[in-house]
């Protein structure tokens, strides 16, 4: 085991660090993280409307859309939450463009404000506002293009600035003015580049970058990301990283967030617009970022709530039982570090198989249940700390099938962990037996 850990230390960790510290992926990851207040406020507003106040809400489903409360709430409360959603989720690509530029500049020691503003402007130069036929791309649909635009804009800005092609004003000029002027030439290069790209698309393709991307790459990515194999593969990869002591979320978020995070926001927007069909182009996505929270991360990565229940039911190891008792309250809110390091699970061969394989199995069940319509699609964004089952129920806007699926998944992960907990019992019994023999064989002190 020590040789293996040494190998991981020498070979795997430096590669993982290179990937995890890749500056563009770090900027994307941090930019998404910095959008949290906007996304959560918007998602909460949509959640409240979808659950309580609009005629298609969960409550309206029980008491009727014509109920006086729903009629009153739809007229008086829903517009307030609509305004919150319109100013947040509906413009998320704009905020993302700024955040990526800002994060890149901050990491490279350049002017973050100027880079953020120019990145946002690039999104507009490329035609994010769309037209009457295409509609705008301010919402999650525009995310990929603004990501690329912001990353390239930042690079152009840095290169031109580093060549010192900047307007310099005397020291007597206020710093804010001086900084603005020094960003003029780099800004002209960055925005000029995107203006040429936009012109080429319009002139030769009679389209915009956003529309072209939507009709080609976005659809291909959609097919790829929505394949059950991709979902299961990612689901296996995350606990695999965690098991070996690597930060699975940090490593993969830079890649996963632009795809599944975008699909999650798309689902929220489309559900609000009345789309109910699931799967396929123009419909709600089967699998989005929140699907992992709803069906897979039951109690945290590796669905460790199932392990805790299995330990409480089957374990004869007193120490494990104590850890399980302490771990249940935090596990109910999806926090499992005390269990992962306390048992431990990381680098513990006993739990390697169940820890890694249960996630793809749970993902398969969640995916199938959503595909066949038993569970509703994820159309609300709930905080990741929401307890299992309730999380699935709320994220799907009250789908009982989704709650049942999450419950079934919890039972499945208990069943997957149970044989290994029993195996740990045997190992512990063997250890105690050997300890007793050693004690008996020790010479008595005279």
């Amino acid at each position: 085991m020590n040789n293996f850990i040494n190998w991981l230390d020498r070979k795997l960790v430096p590669i993982a660090a290179k990937f995890g510290n890749q500056r563009h992926l770090v900027a994307i990851r941090d930019a998404f993280a910095s959008l949290m207040p906007i996304v959560l406020v918007g998602a909460m507003a949509v959640l409240l409307n979808n659950v309580f106040f609009v005629p298609w809400s969960l409550v309206a489903g029980y008491i009727g859309a014509e109920h006086p409360f729903i009629v009153w709430a739809n007229a008086n409360l829903a517009p307030f939450f609509d305004a919150l959603s319109a100013g947040t989720l509906s413009l998320v690509s704009i905020y993302l463009a700024f955040a990526v530029g800002y994060q890149r500049a901050q990491a490279e020691g350049h002017d973050p404000l100027a880079t953020g503003i120019l990145s946002t402007a690039s999104a507009f130069v490329l035609g994010i506002m769309g037209n009457a036929d295409t509609g705008s791309f301010y919402d999650a649909k525009g995310m990929f293009i603004v990501l690329i635009a912001a990353l390239v804009t930042s690079e152009i800005f840095f290169k031109v600035t580093e060549k010192n092609w900047v307007i310099k004003l005397p020291d007597s000029v206020p710093p804010a003015v001086g900084k603005s002027f020094s960003a003029v030439i780099p800004g002209a290069f960055s925005l000029g580049f995107w203006a040429i790209v936009a012109y080429l698309f319009t002139h030769f393709g009679n389209t915009t970058v956003y529309v072209w991307f939507q009709n080609t790459i976005a659809n291909a990515l959609l097919v790829l990301s929505q394949g059950v194999v991709s979902v299961m593969l990612i689901s296996a990869l995350i606990p695999l990283f965690w098991f070996f002591g690597l930060h699975g979320a940090n490593l993969l978020d830079g890649v996963l967030q632009p795809i599944y995070g975008q699909l999650a926001l798309n689902n929220i927007e489309m559900f609000q617009q009345g789309v109910r069909a699931v799967g396929g182009e123009g419909n709600l996505s089967v699998w989005v970022r929140g699907s992992w929270d709803a069906y897979v991360f039951l109690g945290g990565s590796g669905a460790t709530l199932g392990l805790l229940i299995a330990i409480l039911m089957f374990s004869k190891v007193q120490q494990d039982k104590e850890i399980a008792k302490l771990g249940i309250p935090t596990g109910a809110f999806m926090i499992n570090e005390p269990v992962i390091f306390g048992l431990p699970i990381v680098l513990n061969p006993t739990f390697f198989i169940p820890f890694v394989i249960n996630q793809p199995v749970l993902a398969l069940v969640g995916y199938t249940a959503t595909s066949i319509g038993f569970a509703g699609p994820i159309v609300n964004q709930v905080p990741w700390t929401t307890p299992p089952i309730l999380s699935a129920f709320l994220a799907t806007n009250g789908s009982v099938g989704a709650a049942i699926t999450a419950l079934i998944n919890l039972v499945i992960c208990v069943l997957i962990y149970a044989p290994f907990v029993i195996m740990a019992n045997r190992a512990e019994a063997q250890r105690l037996k050997e300890e007793a023999i050693d004690t008996n064989n020790q010479p008595a002190n005279v």
């Binding site: 230390d9 993982a16 660090a17 990283f241 002591g245 930060h247 940090n250 390091f341 431990p344 680098l347």
Partner: protein, 72 residues
Amino acid sequence: MIVVFAPLQREFIKELLHQKLHDEVTFHFEKQENMKLYFSCDSQSSNAVKVAKKVIKDSKYGSVLHFMVEEA
């Protein structure tokens, strides 16, 4: 006393903290038990936990390591 749970890069973490002054806290490596690294410190443990977490997170492997720091 604090304990760092580190499945990987234990030597790196030891070197990072041992006898180094970080944010007015000096850590001394005391012992290792499997993945647990124990450090004594000349500050309140609760503060030392925060400092150690930050130091490890800010290091070159910090963003990819899965670790936990607790008061021992």
